[in-house]
Symmetry: C2
Subunit: 280 residues, 2 copies
Amino acid sequence: MGEKVKGFLIIIGGAEDRKGECKILKKFINISGGKDARITVITAAAQDPQQVGAEYIEIFSELGAHDVQALNIESRKEADREEIADRILDSTGIFFTGGDQLRITSLLGGTRVYNALHRAYREGVIVAGTSAGASAMSDTMIIGGSGDQAPKGSTVSMAPGLGLLEEVVVDQHFAQRGRMSRLLLAVAQNPYILGVGIDEDTAILVSPDGKFRVIGSNTVTVVDGSIVDFTNVSELESGEPLAMFNAKIHILSPGFGFDMKNRKPLKGEATGTYIRSGNG
Amino acid sequence: MGEKVKGFLIIIGGAEDRKGECKILKKFINISGGKDARITVITAAAQDPQQVGAEYIEIFSELGAHDVQALNIESRKEADREEIADRILDSTGIFFTGGDQLRITSLLGGTRVYNALHRAYREGVIVAGTSAGASAMSDTMIIGGSGDQAPKGSTVSMAPGLGLLEEVVVDQHFAQRGRMSRLLLAVAQNPYILGVGIDEDTAILVSPDGKFRVIGSNTVTVVDGSIVDFTNVSELESGEPLAMFNAKIHILSPGFGFDMKNRKPLKGEATGTYIRSGNG
């Protein structure tokens, strides 16, 4: 974790509730400042940026934010425009929609918008992303690999992500698309990296102290490879099955959390500390 | 593991190769005695027992067994017939087809065939089962629970199995049907039980010493809950998501194995011991 970061992240496993209680999106708006929030929606991942942008503007406005704007950046040239970067710096909350994570990084990587995003996050702005926008958060991101298959050589593909979340690889639509195998492969490739699989309508809220808490309606699966003492991953030809001994796995439901620095699961709402009511 | 058992088990995750190299089925025939094998196929699980029985008779005959017979038991009365039980006792290899695991146990449980099966296994006969026939092997078997969903209260259903494999719960079509969540729920319910998820065209060969080796083309996932130090499984209402801290997970590809008594993954072909060639 970068030591000087002051921002929060909300990393959403896709298909978040947008019609009912909207727990996750409401949390994003609240942390962004509620009615005083200045929200910027980045639709770079989307195939249909206008439509997706309009949809989130409507939702975030309904949730009480008065200043919501969508940046439908469609070229690297646009991503280098100073007034667009300025909007990022002027935001109190930034939201990445779903779509294709490679569109996010290939459009924004190294541009003024990219630098503004990192600066805003360091200085305390909350950055959220759903689905592709979730995958893009980490240093290295998963960009492909079918669900519902055995973990085999060449069945996960990865690329450099936005790098807001370090030493972690995120996967989304996790249980719903049977993605355990590709997360295990990613962790086997470098057991130093923490694997975080986020279910649909579920998110992690990452604090500057390197802890996260789960919000939403399903679970988050954490795969910790730090005690892995054997894997054949480096020898696998394409299609050959993986072996990996002694990975640790934690299943976290809403309210539970994880300390990424110390690699410890956390109970309760208060990320590790308990306030007990009553006598004794 | 029963201490006096002399038999082997081959527990197959379904969809085993029946047309190409037939690695798994060939192993079953070889251990059963090759051309001298007396194979009994039990089709109790199947919707279409005649057809499934005929299919396996053809395959096992092609693989070299001269005496292959299918028992299409369709009632508990039949399962109590002495001449059918005698055929079981006279077999050198017994094979359970796929279908519905509850049909196996509800038809056979407590009958003469059931007792003969246990006696034959104890005395050294190999018992194999694929798909539903694999699930039925354990003390407690998984009988339902959709794949590709988060682990939640009431999303796995279980029933008493044939009890040939103790202290283990088996799941099949594992990666292919996204069944991690239901195996995790089963393990959370009783972390003493080892969870073994077997992929399609993949099997474990269980020896009387309580070790198994993986054969076939995909992987076996072992979930060991013995160091789990927290779970909310006992408090879950239907549909509420699971939390479980510190499960261990091993991914085993063909050639690798597992020591179920000591809960240790095993490298190499020789279940734990290495014979090194060359100097030194």
